[in-house]
Amino acid sequence: MAKIKFFAKEIIKLLSSLELTLAGLSALALLVFLCTLGEVQLGVYDSVKIHFNSWFLYSRPVLGGYRIPLFPAGKIVGIVLILNLLFAHFKRLTLSYKKIGLWLTHFGLIILFVGQFLSGRFARESQMTIKENSSKNYSEDPRHSEIDLIDATNSKTDTVYSIPQGLLKTGQVISLPNQITLKIKHYALNAAVDIRKNSDAAFPDYALIQGPGKNLEIIDMPLSHDDNQPNMPAALVQVSSNGKVLGNWQMSEMIPLPQEIPVKGKALYLVLRPKRYYFPFSLFLKKFTHKIYTGTTIPSRFSSLIHIDDPASPTENRNTLISMNHPLRFQGLTFYQASYAQNDTVSILQVVRNPSWTIPYISSFLVALGLIFHFLMRLKQAKFLS
């Protein structure tokens, strides 16, 4: 018993120690530095995944493809720093008038960390591409794909069954409503598409390919880390209805056109495309404006004149102008002017759902307040001394 008590004491001492703070801060600084360097080769998304959204930095695969953890990554360092902060406050720092600045600062930091964790967990980013004089009721996630089975039998509304990217693996068998079964014969995370050169290919599955994908050849490509050249998944699937094989379909995100599946009495389509998020309302793009400074190509302003169309609450229907630095916040989503295409006739909006977006505002206010308070206090003390 005494041993356990001693042990616990030692652990608490370690967790509340300033040595651990310094080790944690230094590790964090090193991770930030490595992550920044990594972004040159890997792109921001993957570098952050490796350095911050994981437990360890690993070595290259050694014997048997096993990778050795070399250094704690963002998750461990973050947790250690938060624990350290909490323990230090309860163990060492007394709650006194003099220390109130430190308390505010550190409390603010904890909220900031937690907020970042929450937004990493719950924030969702996607894009909405709207052409002028048309409307959209969904956004797309360019980083994730899905295979959708669209049931258009009902003439008024389509029903969409989505298979998320996680399930899209070669060999996977997926049962869908309407007694449809998909068997994924081949799935490539990144692939190019070309016209097939020789029709009598050695691969027997080719012969069974139905629909417009018949004459295409999918060429597997290495994963791209360039943010400007997104990965383009492609798939070869076998479709069965009521246990009877209908044939193979070949799909690529490069050509995201629904292909018809011939089932009697139904209008079924299959498509591989970026993951979609549907909204209960739609946005109509009235006008996209791209202003430049006279005599230059430097843009001075981008803006999209949008009409919100919400059938559930018609009172909300209105015009609104989204421009850079002036997003639209609507029903828990925020729409930002992100980009444009096709000779300024298409506007691309970044759509973000982040329930914890206010946390950084509150926490950083607390930290700044705490720092100002603490340093002013020290300055006053220094004046007293001199």
């Binding site: 703070t21 600084a29 921001v44 005599g295 001075s300």
Partner: protein
């Protein structure tokens, strides 16, 4: 008591010296021409370039910086001011084409252009022109290679091609094709006569082709044209087009025509009268553009940042000498000069704010200028509190260095460029960007104080206990200040990003750089509070703060566009490496065991 009397006894010569320097610092040195042409009248004329209305002198200076990395043209006889060179280029190109204004220092490029590979680095248009076709073809090929994988020869070659393009576009910008005297009259009075005359039609179509070409290649647009209530700016080519097609004559075109005729006939009096009439016309019709353009010309003529470089150097010199002789008098002089230098520095920043209508920091160039300004201000406050000359020394070093850096950054063109849509927000520029830059400035102050501590302590016996304590206290205060501003600046950046892209933190290299400064300052302070480092360790870590800040200020910009990009970035990379190595060396020196220090201040 003795000090008081000393202060009262400043000889007149001392005060005159300070007064003289002050006058020199703020005096606008307008460019002069030996040809009898009133160059100021020409330099002040407003034109539109890169979306901003600016005087011709700014166009001349910034384009000369692109071409020759200098603001003047050296000829065997004299130094030509930039405006004189521009005037020659647009009105007597045959003379300007012989001026050596292209700075090429890559030997392979010189070889490619069949130019002598000697110490000579400046070449004229006529020397490069024979290789133009080959140069253009090669440049087209290079442009297809991504910037990251270009060799230094390829980047240097591309730079020369771009310089040639700028040069030729400038040359055409004020060109007015010769119109047969009768043509404008006919157009205005009897357009039908042209339609009936085949010879005139041919002539008209030739001129239209030329004026279209001028319109497309113009580097700046010089002609304001009335559009209802206000004036719009067009190129001289377009103005000719409008005259020939719509029969609308814009007065400024006539004025420029008169100026050019006068130049061709070598008649300076006629030139001055035409320029003067145009100025009067501008004053009446575009009073605000006329006024702003004149103000900017005064700003150019004062050259506050150039004067700042000289003055900060003088401050450094007086302080350095004061450690050997006349300590009191020279320190006093240095402090006065520092105030003069900072005032002219402030004047420059203020002019930029007013002219641009933007907060002080809008790009890398202005960040350098602003870092220097903040650092000198902080040091001046420190020097009042700890009057030992350390802070003043720091001020002169940082002021001088940042303005030199700014001077080199100006070589990419006009430094008052228009802000892209996402940056087009004065609120965020003034809050986020300014606080980050204040953070940079303060870490540099702390780092430089650290350098003084180490160098003085290791190399000289002069660092006593009191001086060491003062240095440490100053550094401590500045690091706290820096932590606050870097943190606030970083967070404001996050909030700006949240407002414009919907994410508070995106791990962008620039954001990471700012975060590193915050973390480093936090590490220093926690290590000090925990007693893990003492005075010396604290100062060594402050010096290492310089490394982190320079990486975050400059290093990350190099990551983005690759290590082998444009010429100046290559050079910037070289200097950044030298700087970082020097800081590491100084930090290592600070780590020497105390017995090796010449100053024995620590028991």
């Amino acid at each position: 008591m003795k000090k008081e009397t000393m202060r009262g006894k400043n000889p007149i010569s001392f005060n005159l010296l300070v007064l003289g320097t002050l006058t020199w610092a703020f005096f606008p040195f307008f460019p002069h021409s030996h040809s009898g042409v009133d160059l100021t009248l020409f330099s002040q004329l407003p034109v539109l370039q890169e979306g901003r209305i600016k005087p011709l002198s700014t166009v001349a200076r910034s384009s000369l910086l692109i071409l020759s990395h200098k603001e003047k043209v050296s000829t065997p006889g004299e130094e030509l001011p930039a405006s004189q060179w521009l005037l020659d280029l647009v009105s007597r190109p045959e003379i300007a084409d012989m001026e050596k204004v292209f700075c090429i220092d890559n030997l392979d490029v010189l070889g490619f252009l069949n130019l002598p590979q000697t110490a000579q680095r400046y070449f004229s248009f006529n020397q490069i022109a024979p290789s133009w076709d080959r140069l253009e073809k090669k440049a087209d090929a290079i442009e297809k290679v991504p910037a990251k994988s270009r060799s230094s020869f390829e980047s240097a070659l591309l730079e020369v091609e771009e310089q040639m393009v700028v040069y030729q576009r400038l040359k055409f910008s004020l060109e007015i094709p010769d119109l047969p005297d009768s043509l404008p009259n006919l157009l205005l009075k009897n357009p039908r006569a042209i339609a009936q005359n085949k010879g005139l039609q041919k002539e008209l179509s030739d001129i239209l082709t030329r004026s279209n070409f001028i319109d497309q290649s113009a580097y700046f647009w010089a002609i304001p044209i009335s559009s209802g209530t206000s004036y719009a700016w067009i190129s001289s080519g377009k103005a000719i087009n409008q005259l020939l097609i719509q029969g609308t004559l814009s007065q400024p075109l006539l004025f420029y025509h008169r100026m050019e005729d006068a130049r061709k006939n070598s008649d300076p009096a006629a030139f001055n009268s035409a320029a003067d009439s145009y100025q009067k016309w501008l004053k009446k019709n575009l009073p605000s553009q006329y006024r702003w353009s004149r103000y900017e010309e005064i700003f150019n003529a004062v050259s506050p940042f150039w004067k700042g470089i000289v003055l900060y150097f003088l401050v450094f010199l007086s302080l350095a000498v004061s450690w050997v002789i006349w300590p009191e008098r020279l320190t006093q002089l240095a402090m006065r000069l520092l105030v003069v230098a900072w005032s002219v520095h402030s004047f420059g920043i203020l002019c930029r704010i007013v002219i641009q209508g933007r907060p002080p920091v809008t790009n890398l160039y202005s960040s350098a200028v602003f870092i220097g300004w903040v650092a000198v201000l902080l040091c001046w406050i420190l020097e009042r509190k700890f009057p030992k000359g350390f802070a003043a020394m720091t001020a002169s070093i940082i002021g001088f260095t940042t303005l030199i850096i700014a001077h080199h950054l100006a070589m990419t063109g006009d430094t008052m460029e228009m802000m892209r849509a996402v940056l087009n927000s004065n609120f965020w520029l003034s809050t986020h960007v300014s606080s980050i830059t204040i953070g940079y400035a303060s870490t540099f102050v702390a780092g430089t104080l650290g350098i003084l501590y180490i160098l003085k302590g290791v190399l000289t016996p002069s660092l006593d206990k009191e001086a060491a304590k003062a240095l440490v206290q100053m550094t401590y205060g500045i690091i706290c200040f820096s932590l606050l501003f870097s943190f606030v600046g970083t967070v404001l950046g996050g909030i700006w990003a949240d407002q414009s892209w919907g994410r508070f933190w995106g791990w962008d290299p620039k954001e990471n750089g700012a975060l590193l400064i915050v973390l480093w300052n936090a590490i220093i302070l926690h290590a000090r509070w925990g007693g893990f480092i003492r005075e010396r360790g604290f100062m060594v870590m402050a010096v290492l703060g310089n490394v982190i800040t320079s990486l975050s200020w400059f290093g990350v910009n190099m990551l983005g566009i690759g290590l082998h990009s444009y010429g100046w970035m290559d050079k910037a990379f070289f200097w950044l490496s030298i700087f970082i190595l020097s800081q590491l060396a100084i930090a290592a020196l600070g780590g020497l065991p105390l017995p090796y220090w010449k100053s024995k201040f620590q028991s």
